[in-house]
């Protein structure tokens, strides 16, 4: 069955509170999800490092797990040791 939407009324908007507009790793806007997700929001949340840089959680986890040595697990933006805030 095909449904044609003729009219819709938004009742709320949501936005992540981040200093940047887009994820430094995937380059997608924070309001969108990472390239491996389909639906933005709670299923593809942002996380912040103690250095205050935000990323999609899936993006930063891919980066951290690609770095075998703990010493190489740095924030992609400022190269400080990555710690979750």
């Amino acid at each position: 069955m095909k449904v044609k939407i003729k009219k819709w009324t938004g009742v709320a908007v949501w936005k992540w509170t981040a200093n940047d507009d887009s994820c430094g790793i995937c380059r997608m806007p924070f309001e969108a999800c990472c390239p491996d997700c389909r639906i933005p929001g709670d299923d593809c949340p942002l996380v912040w490092g103690q250095c205050s840089h935000p990323f999609h959680i899936h993006c930063i986890m891919k980066w951290l797990s690609s770095q075998q040595m703990a010493a190489a697990q740095l924030c992609p933006m400022c190269r400080q040791g990555w710690r979750f805030r």
């Binding site: 430094g24 790793i25 995937c26 380059r27 997608m28 993006c59 891919k62 690609s66 933006m77 190269r79």
Partner: protein, 151 residues
């Protein structure tokens, strides 16, 4: 239908950005694009540097792990800049291309780093170990165990 992968989405975004809004002295070579995992980018030596007026070609190869893995970047001949960190086969000794890579970097930032590396050069000469290196190295510069020095 296969889904567009993480790497492909990111590379596609960079491709559009470099096409539509390239930094001064950096040009994407559209005609060379046969697949998005391999690009040629033209760079110009900056004004008031030893390379002013010179023109070079960089060859970028990406893997499916990009941007979590750095691209492979070499100068393409016949004109390879004469520089203490650039071997005559086009290999570049630059730490951001291996151990200091970060997924927040991009083709654009790599090109600008290379232009800036050329700009800070005080004397045009090849690396001291050039002849041994080009005889013994692998084709892929990322297989080399680079020793990075300041300067």
């Amino acid at each position: 239908m296969s889904r567009v992968t993480f790497a492909e989405k990111r590379i596609q975004k960079e491709l559009m950005a470099l096409k539509n809004d390239p930094p001064v002295g950096v040009t994407l070579d559209d005609s060379s694009l046969t697949n998005i995992y391999r690009w040629r980018v033209h760079i110009e030596g900056a004004e008031n540097t030893l390379y002013e007026g010179e023109h070079f070609i960089l060859d970028f190869k990406f893997t499916a792990k990009y941007p979590f893995e750095s691209p492979q970047v070499v100068f393409l001949g016949p004109i390879i800049p004469v520089h203490p960190h650039v071997y005559s086969n086009g290999h570049i000794c630059l730490s951001i291309l291996t151990e200091d890579w970060s997924p927040a970097m991009s083709v654009e930032s790599v090109c600008l780093s290379i232009v800036s590396m050329l700009s800070s050069c005080k004397e045009k000469k090849r690396p001291p170990d050039n002849s041994v290196y080009v005889r013994t190295c692998s084709k892929n510069p990322k297989d080399t165990n680079w020793w990075y020095h300041e300067l």
